[in-house]
Symmetry: C2
Subunit: 458 residues, 2 copies
């Protein structure tokens, strides 16, 4: 067994909460991406920051890799134990430690999921807006710099994490950020850790910004004659400054899949935008009139409204289930979600070019997008046992990424780099990647923190 002495020491620390069972290890060796399982040698079910620190010290002593794990919903191989080692499962560290309603902030443990946080907040009049679809853990969302449907109005984890507790590669525990709304006190370690994917430390507590539940919420659906027309409407709405809470695109194929999977009655398999408006009653009215007017100018249909909470929930559940719906187009095959994000002026070009590539490739890949941010996903439904098909998907993705980077966009809007996008990161950031590597080496000289990810290819 690899890393035997470290695992024995970890078992002394955690007793039965250190598992080497094959099923447990394999479950922790992959996320929801297309990558194969790379199981850790053991999984540690931790309960406290002190335990995490003790484990990390022990791993440092024995030169053993550490892979933090939340809910395993990442998409670029973030949790793959490429060099084995110990996976730190934080799911039992799921407490809400503080809610400061007057200051719109809270402090939570990393294993708490976003839905459980919002359940906890239900009677407070507050909510946590970042919504990547999956019921991911707050620690994982922080490490991935996640975002999702609400980001166009409320920002991503970058904007909504106020501070962190982090266990560093040598077991030291630091606290970053604070509770003030702004600070100019030193280097922004919080933002450095947000999006570092476990490669700089293990996140053991997260202070989040909360938002007041808006007085009025309304959702609307609008169909278009083409994806291009839909995207042009989005561009104009964003440019006009309407503070839409959500603008989601589902292309024709995705609508077809979602109508079948989610039983969306009354909708047609046409390129469609799902909107949500938040604010006072007057503001919601004003925003939706502006959005409807712009959509009509692009041949959009009249808005179909969902104002009752149950209707809204059904709509957004369908949006969240888009990936499942897509997979049902080819049962038994695998999903592979791409993730470029481009300046809003380049969105129509990027989506249309992707559709052209897809048509030529013969691949099945519905498109969904957080289009208010310029972020969209091709959801390849592929056969991992068909190397030719996988190669074609990889080629379409490469062209997609290259086009995004060429117009100042990014290879990943929200899924992160993991080990799936290391080459794309280099294409996007060039010599800056060497600076990232310098920081990685300075903070983790043994390269034990989630090795093989972002800046340290194996």
């Amino acid at each position: 067994m690899r890393h035997e002495r470290a695992i024995r020491a970890a078992a002394e620390l955690l007793g039965r909460r250190l598992s080497t069972s094959r099923a447990v290890r394999e479950h922790h060796g992959r996320g929801e991406g297309y990558q194969p399982v790379a199981a850790p040698d053991a999984v540690a079910f931790v309960r406290s920051t002190a335990e995490v620190a003790a484990l990390v010290r022990l791993c440092a002593e024995h030169d053993v890799p550490i892979v933090p794990f939340g809910t395993g919903t990442s998409l670029e191989g973030h949790v793959a134990a490429l060099r084995g080692g110990i996976c730190i499962d934080t799911s039992a560290m799921d407490a809400v430690l503080e809610v400061n309603a007057a200051d719109l902030d809270c402090l939570v443990q990393p294993g708490l999921t976003r839905k459980r946080l919002n359940d906890h907040l239900r009677d407070s009049g507050l909510f946590f807006p970042v919504d990547p679809g999956a019921d991911a853990s707050i620690g994982g969302m922080t490490a991935t710099r996640a975002s999702g449907t609400n980001a166009v109005r409320y920002g991503t984890m970058r904007e909504n994490v106020l501070g962190l507790e982090v266990v560093l590669a040598d077991g030291r525990v630091i606290r970053t950020g604070g509770r003030a709304r702004k600070s100019a006190a030193g280097y922004d370690l919080t933002r450095l850790m947000v999006g570092s994917e476990g490669t700089l430390g293990v996140i053991t507590a997260v202070r989040l910004r909360l938002h007041g539940i808006p007085e009025a919420v309304a959702a609307a659906v609008c169909a278009f004659s083409s994806v291009e027309a839909a995207v042009e409407a989005v561009m104009e709405i964003i440019q006009s400054g309407v503070p839409v809470a959500r603008i989601e695109l589902l292309d024709q194929l995705q609508m077809q899949a979602s109508i079948a999977w989610s039983g969306l009655e009354g909708f047609a398999p046409r390129p469609t935008l799902f909107f949500e408006f938040h604010g006072t009653a007057g503001a919601v009215e004003e925003q939706s009139v502006t959005a409807q007017t712009i959509c009509r100018q692009h041949d959009g249909t009249d808005f179909t409204w969902a104002t009752r909470p149950e209707d809204r929930n059904r709509l957004w559940q369908a949006r969240h289930d888009a990936y499942l719906a897509a997979r049902a187009l080819r049962p038994g095959k695998a999903g592979w979600a791409t993730d470029v994000c481009v300046p809003i002026s380049q969105l129509a070009m990027a989506v249309v070019a992707a559709q052209r590539d897809l048509a030529q490739s013969g691949l099945t890949a519905p498109i969904v997008g957080h289009v208010g941010d310029g972020n969209f996903h091709l959801q390849f439904i592929v056969d991992p046992d068909d190397p030719a098909e996988m190669r074609r998907a990889a080629e379409v993705n490469e062209r997609l990424v290259a086009r995004a980077i060429a117009v100042g966009g990014t290879c990943t809007g929200e899924h992160g780099v993991g080990y799936g996008k290391i080459a794309s990161l280099r294409a996007e950031h060039g010599p800056a990647v060497e600076v990232m590597r310098t920081i990685k080496r300075a903070l983790d000289p043994q390269d034990i923190m989630n090795p093989g990810k972002i800046v340290t290819p194996i």
Copy 2:
């Protein structure tokens, strides 16, 4: 002469744009803070990134400190050449390189000032909101993580810088960030550089987020019977989610000073809030009704409105001139602005305790604050030649900072650390400061980038 060989080489590079005149050096050796002059050995008036890179390489070769300089409006000794060396004056690098109106972004050189940027944007329907009062350079504002009156709605430089070009300590040039509204591609080097005060590199280009000029703008003034009542109104307005664009507090003494200095007719020397509301006409109406209602509940007066641009400008000019007005209370004396920021629920406590300390100390110090963010400044007007008075001011500041940190706030909301707040940074961030130092050493092993600031006390 110190660093003679490096200066000779720099003169070969820049000709007459390398100055060793005493007047020029002394002008560059201090900002607007209370610290004494610490002049560099030479000042380089650079014109391009290539020149900056060449200078930095030359300084690295000769082990000579580098201090970047924008407009010299910093307040914590950021530009003091504590170990001499070459000051890089970027004021001639002041071009607007791109404006992408459709994407609400622009790319500018670091020496451009914020007012000149807004002049440039005047006919585009866009504006750059970050407004620290002084007409600071964009590069300096980025390096300081500046904010100011509009941050409560539009965020600070942290939220409004999308990407950077930076010359590193070894002369390498990197580009960070990009034009997409969000990205999960690797470590957030942009946010690491924002607020790094020249200690990690020289900023040579800045990509900024722009905002649409709101359809309607209205400013209002409201006086209160006590600072506590005013601050409680602010807390309630923020907690109720009104997206106010500006909420500024001027205490009784500051109002007295500003009425005299700026000729503010019709106002009384009472604790006063200055508001600005942005949005559609309907939204501005709605926001101001809510704010007025809350203010009345705290014994605030009826709002005095300034809706014409010239009236608004007069009001905000008076706010920006608060420091000059305060200094006129004791002509010939020096100013020293403190800068704590606390969670909004702690704001009344923090302001009232500061006033109590001030009353006991006998010092002259009007209070102004970006109170929507929980950020306020005591503006000590002190005699630098009176050590006892300076000591009393330092004591009041220490108590202020300790109280802010004790409630989760920060020692500096927007002025930065420079060398004036190194001890406070340590009190606030503890072991995390050692991580900052590790990053500093990794990126600047010779310690030539603005040495003596933030993490490297001399």
